[in-house]
Symmetry: C2
């Protein structure tokens, strides 16, 4: 049977030593942040994840959701777990205290989200979607809307959903057909079908707040005619309670590869009453402002599943005895050695762990920057942070999920044939992880966003927010003999990234297909360099701690060993990626479509 | 709904133009081979795969196998399909005519196996295992055993299984505990539990011939005390019919990630009557002689699933309209362009197809060499072919399944979120393909076999069977200006492979962990170079055909375009693999096990 322990010591290291979060006490929500407080939150969060959510992960997958007469029943135990979750205040961890939230920094939300999704990704989708709706209404709603919905979303009494996709359109929302007819009372009647709506219907909350993209009668075609509406499942009464049923209902749920405890709904809006949120025809912009959070959230899912896969694979590799070390028996008194003696098993485990800890550092750095972009008193700092986040989010989303999926597969591989059997849990992680590369924009769409939108924006200014500190770090560390083994490979890969960037900028200007053809390889290279940067910074911190003696020797020794591993065994991929990037688009565009 | 069409035109190209199979009419089984005959077999095989097996693939996955009171019922339709399959003579396609087989070359068996596994991998496991048992008895059985079992296996009346794995041992068979007690009548009583036995029990055949590895009372410990036994489900009567039930039974079937129509059984042998096959204590050797065929067969499964995933992804990419080409609308009269206009969608499709056709060429070349090794009149040719096959089989097994799995995932990715939904079939291919990296020896075990056994064997002589013709080909083609674009990157990657080989030979001698640490990256590099070689050879043939005009212009034009793609977008990975290989083992071995 699988196990899970939230990686609290690594989280603590990132908060205190890597981000030095105590430095930001001038920001709202950071005032009372101290190692004691963050420790308490991490350990309470770990308890929920390990003891409440994780025990329902396999059974939830086995049972799935039930659909009958428009109603969805979640797997056994989800309802009770949700109650525990909301009673602990976890639904509003980062929500505004004004609406009953805890008001904590986003990085704490990210840490808790990792635990939740590692322990039970399916469960995590329900509060995850509600959090997204909270952010959207907070950013774009009227005061009246905020007062009506935010407290109920922050305390978890109500759920929420995002309704974008329709059967004929997902990526290309300009094609969407759902209609919004204005009524005399200022409301709208929403009519249309939405698909792939996570948490669209369930039995965890007394109400569900649907955010629906639709086109107001007479609005322009394409993305410029899309507006966003609040469509509650049950109408809100005068006193803020739950009233009559709205004509928004679930038509069916999908049979999927994984996340079977998460209800993926076809939603039918049949003249449902909706309330415009934000400006008419500005629905896409409202969506986009939520995208950074959502993409970071999905990236974190890739990481969370890789973490739990690692933990179980490492435990199995230490327990399972089979064969002998090729350098001679390590446990001659036993019939065989544990398989962790084999270099290739270690290669798999270290690949996973170096990814996990590097990805976690990157995600935390981004979470801090989202807060800086919103809350820092200095506008220049806000702008820089916003630029960095805009640049990095497609990388975080696609790299963490693509590599997370590979990593989960490495974990299964450590189990040999046993990994294919359901009871070990590994195959579920693979099936669950597979969705993360698809939803909230596929990896390919992230890559197009990176090369097509983020690189050219503001004449390339976004790029500087990543390149500049990285360059500075390399300059600063180059002369440190202890850092040479980390900085040299990082500098080499960074040079390749700069070369690839210049190639794309130049070639893409002449022919946009050049940028499109290079996009995925470029994003992967970007992700590798970003993790290389994280690892070099962590190696520096851990190296200093080791030099100073002190506690946690084993922790820092492992950090340095993982940094070394990442530099030598993961980062070199940038060399072949550069070749692929500069191979150009003609290779891809040569054949006519009917030749495929 | 998914579709499948056997890739007959590519198979025909490989048989006639690439292998020039007509040249081998001096070999038994090849006498009557002509383009007409092979065409007829391919098109009949395609009909079975497309019309009989493929329609049961999704329903079989949905329904799975049923277990009750020791009996396994296969999914609806399997029984009738099996009847059609055996009545058509497909069970004995490559079996000896002496025992009722068709006696055809192995390459025809491989072509048909690809169709079968692409159309329905679960179904394919039943005849596939029986074929393995046929080969084992043919190679190691007494004349009496051959006469008793081979005709029934060749005509498909009886099934077969291979019983190796036990709960505590898979890779390390030296640990196995199943006992064989000799009886006065020359038979043995077999007692023990075997797990992961594909096709261990089912309702397709009137009898099942189990091949069981067990230890005769008093035999040495470890692999040197293992013997192989025939244990029939039902005893054979005097007249060769089916008699009393033997005490060999299925205890349960596994709940798995995929291949749900294939019964994976726990088999209990409780004093079952068994017949020694081959010499006592030589069971491992008998197993190993079957390994080449089995590993080629599993490699082919990776290819087959990648082929069907490609076909469906390509069809979807041509149909699904979404967004616009980044170079301007390609179908301005429609609301959106088909997604095949996007370079990154093409990258995914071409990556898959370049793998498929390269892998198919490699597999066919190997199949021909297995026949040469067995049937060629010249002993030196037999030996060379045997050496080549021994060298390449771990590469074929692991590279085709690892890359096949990646490829199937690219296919799913082309569907976006729709790929995650069961009805499209793509997620089943991912789940089914996942087993191929595990069974018949995990990829890691194949890599260890390559560096630990195959490289050093006969002072490196095996290697020459691949390096020499490749080197010769490069020399011969270097001066051909038409071939330069293919030969240059191939030569560069081949140089890296030689460098990596020298590094492993030298370092591994000092410290075997160095070879182990490099093994997977080395195997991958080997696979890339092998496919690069296949592609260069195919490009040469197709280039010549294009130069001469003639038919199939589109076919050869695509071949050349795919060769170009492979050289520029897949082969460059050898550069980063070389860095990883030479990074050494210390990185992996530095941490104590408890640091994981």
């Amino acid at each position: 049977m699988p196990t899970y322990q939230a990686p609290v010591s690594d989280m603590r290291f990132l908060l205190n030593d890597f981000l030095e979060i105590g430095k930001y006490q001038n920001l709202p929500g950071f005032e009372e942040i101290s190692p004691d407080l963050t420790d308490a939150i991490l350990s309470e969060g770990a308890k929920i994840a390990e003891e409440v959510l994780f025990p329902l992960n396999q059974s939830g997958d086995e049972e799935g959701c039930h659909f009958e007469d428009g109603a969805v029943t979640t797997p056994k135990g989800f309802k009770e777990a949700y109650k525990t979750y909301t009673e602990g205040g976890w639904a509003g961890l980062t929500a505004d205290p004004k609406y009953g939230g805890q008001g904590l920094p986003r990085v704490m939300g990210v840490a808790f989200a990792e635990m939740t999704t590692a322990a039970n990704l399916s469960f995590g989708t329900y509060p995850g979607l509600a959090r997204g709706v909270y952010e959207a209404i907070d950013a774009h709603g009227s005061d009246e809307q905020k007062d009506a919905y935010l407290p109920k979303l922050a305390n978890g009494e109500w759920g929420g959903t995002m309704n974008l996709t329709e059967p004929h359109c997902g990526t290309d929302l300009g094609l969407l057909r759902t209609k919004a007819e204005p009524q005399d009372d200022g409301t709208y009647r929403i009519t249309g079908t939405k698909i792939f709506i996570s948490a669209g219907e369930h039995d965890l909350t007394e109400n569900i707040v649907h955010l629906v993209l639709a086109r107001i009668t007479g609005a322009p075609a394409g993305v410029k005619g899309i507006s966003m509406f609040i469509v509650p499942k049950f109408m809100i009464t005068e006193h803020g309670g739950v009233g009559e049923r709205n004509s928004a209902g679930c038509g069916s749920i999908e049979q999927k590869m994984g996340i079977k405890g998460s209800a993926t709904c076809v939603m039918n809006y049949d003249g449902a009453i909706g309330y415009l949120i934000g400006q008419p025809n500005k629905g896409m912009r409202a969506m986009f402002t939520m995208m950074n959070d959502a993409r970071l959230g999905v990236g974190i899912q890739g990481l969370g599943l890789s973490e739990i896969a690692y933990q179980n694979a490492a435990a199995y590799a230490k327990e399972r005895t089979q064969g002998r070390s090729i350098t001679g028996a390590k446990m001659p008194d036993q019939a065989a050695d544990p398989i962790i003696v084999h270099p290739d098993v270690r290669r798999m485990l270290l690949t996973m762990r170096a990814f996990n800890e590097g990805a976690r550092a990157l995600a935390y750095w981004m979470a801090l920057n989202i807060d800086l972009a919103e809350k820092h008193p200095d506008e220049a700092v806000r702008q820089d942070a916003d630029d960095l986040v805009a640049l990095m989010m497609p990388v975080v989303k696609a790299y963490l999920t693509d590599t997370g999926f590979e990593s989960v597969n490495l974990g299964l591989q450590c189990f040999g044939g046993h990994g294919y059997i359901r009871e070990h849990g590994m195959e579920q992680y693979v099936r669950d992880a597979r969705i993360t590369k698809l939803y909230e924009g596929t990896s390919g769409i992230q890559a197009l966003d990176l090369v097509g939108r983020k690189l050219p924006r503001k004449m390339g200014r976004l790029l500087r927010q990543f390149f500049h500190p990285l360059d500075q770090f390399i300059q600063d560390s180059m002369s440190d003999p202890e850092m040479k083994e980390f900085v040299m490979p990082l500098a080499k890969s960074f040079a390749r990234l700069q070369q690839a960037t210049a190639w794309i900028a130049e070639q893409g200007l002449k022919n946009p297909d050049q940028a499109g053809a290079a996009s995925m390889d470029y994003l992967k290279m970007f992700g590798l360099v970003a993790l290389g940067y994280m690892w070099a910074r962590m190696a520096k911190i851990s190296g200093a701690k080791l030099a100073n003696g002190g506690d946690d020797h084993a922790f820092h020794e492992r950090k340095v060993a993982l940094a070394r591993f990442f530099m030598a065994k993961s980062l070199p991929e940038t060399s072949s990626l550069l070749s692929k990037i500069t191979a150009g688009a003609d290779l891809l565009m040569a054949l006519d479509a009917d030749q495929f």
